[in-house]
């Protein structure tokens, strides 16, 4: 389920963010409880709690005392703008580095992308 590349709590947070971006989780939807999450993914509940705490810190989730955690109304918008900024540094630039390494020039890429439309 989870890989060894990074702490599980970050992977949990990323997973939930992806669900929000894809629309699988909508605003004010309740997310699974820490214990449900731990039992489902077979991980320590403290690890799950850490992932949720990170999302609360980032304003992606909010807590209702005694009830659970919910998706913040503006979460999707916030995540989109964040990811959009990161898209060029984290996706496009490595791609260009690789393209340069193997001798693909930018025009060729643009052409390819144009065909994808």
């Amino acid at each position: 389920m989870f890989n060894d590349r990074s702490p599980i709590y970050l992977q949990i947070a990323d997973g939930i963010k992806n669900d929000i971006l894809s629309g699988a989780l909508k605003e004010d939807d309740q997310v699974m409880s820490t214990n449900q999450y731990a039992a489902f993914y077979q991980i320590n509940p403290a690890t799950a709690a850490k992932g949720f705490a990170q999302l609360v810190d980032e304003g992606v989730l909010y807590k209702k005392r005694g009830i659970g955690m919910f998706v913040s109304p503006d979460a999707r918008e916030k995540l989109r703008s964040e990811r959009r900024q990161r898209f060029f540094t984290e996706v496009v630039e490595p791609m260009l580095t690789e393209a340069r390494r193997i001798g693909i020039d930018v025009d060729e890429i643009v052409q390819h992308l144009g065909a994808q439309r």
Binding site: R5, I8, A38, T47, T97
Partner: protein, 291 residues
Amino acid sequence: MIELRGVTVRYGSTVAVDNVDLELPTGKIYGLLGRNGSGKTSLLSALASYRRPTSGTILVDGVEAFENPQVMHRTAFVRDTLDVNDSDRVSRVLRFAGWLRSGWDEAYAEKLLDLFQLPSRKTVSSLSRGQKSALGVVLGLAARAPLTILDESYLGMDAVARTNFYRELLADYLAYPRTILLSTHLIDEAADLFERVIILDRGRVLMHEEAEALRGRGVTVTGPSAAVDAFVGDRLVLGEQRLGGVRAVTLDTRLSPSEQSGGEAAGLTFGPLSIQDLFVHLTSSSQEASR
């Protein structure tokens, strides 16, 4: 809180546990990792009052643990060699636990017997190694002891039984939160269950960390020797391999995204290090690491 202060366990001239200091907040699942002979069982035996430490003290919730009824009533320690009599039937072993343990959950014990397909009419001596381990798990979990210590409780279990074991351990911990210490060699299988990890090496605590801090902590770097050398600089190298002009090193470090992209631009590839890999590198003898 469980506190170990200067705990040493000696057998004649052999030092099994060497001046261990540990502070373990209660209510967590701990993974105790160590190679064979690293002192895991001796340390756990002292913690469970099976053996008085040669020196040092163990405090549980502020009181000295050894032979303390308050502490011992609330502790369950299951060793790989079960502390039961071979000629007893499984049913009698469990009945006895029910008599002596105030927190014993008989219905849960029955459920676990079914889950592990343990025949209650069989004698302990006729059980397979895996079934004996399963019996240990039943004794350990159904006791619902606030301090539950399972010492390599998976020995001889097949993959299905081990999966059931991890699943039950976690489910019961979620339903009845308590302190669980799990010693294991099968680190990759169990690592996700741990909140904290303690690594013992030759009787000493090599590391006591949150499991999350260990994940993604180490990294392998592979590439042309010169590029790897330049990247490593004065970082601590845990292990390395060479093949022709290619060098692969294991580093005890967490890389920032910029370090990683910089390295990739220089022709290096990076690989993750699991807790198990990290454990292997940390506990292989220091000579090998520096070679």
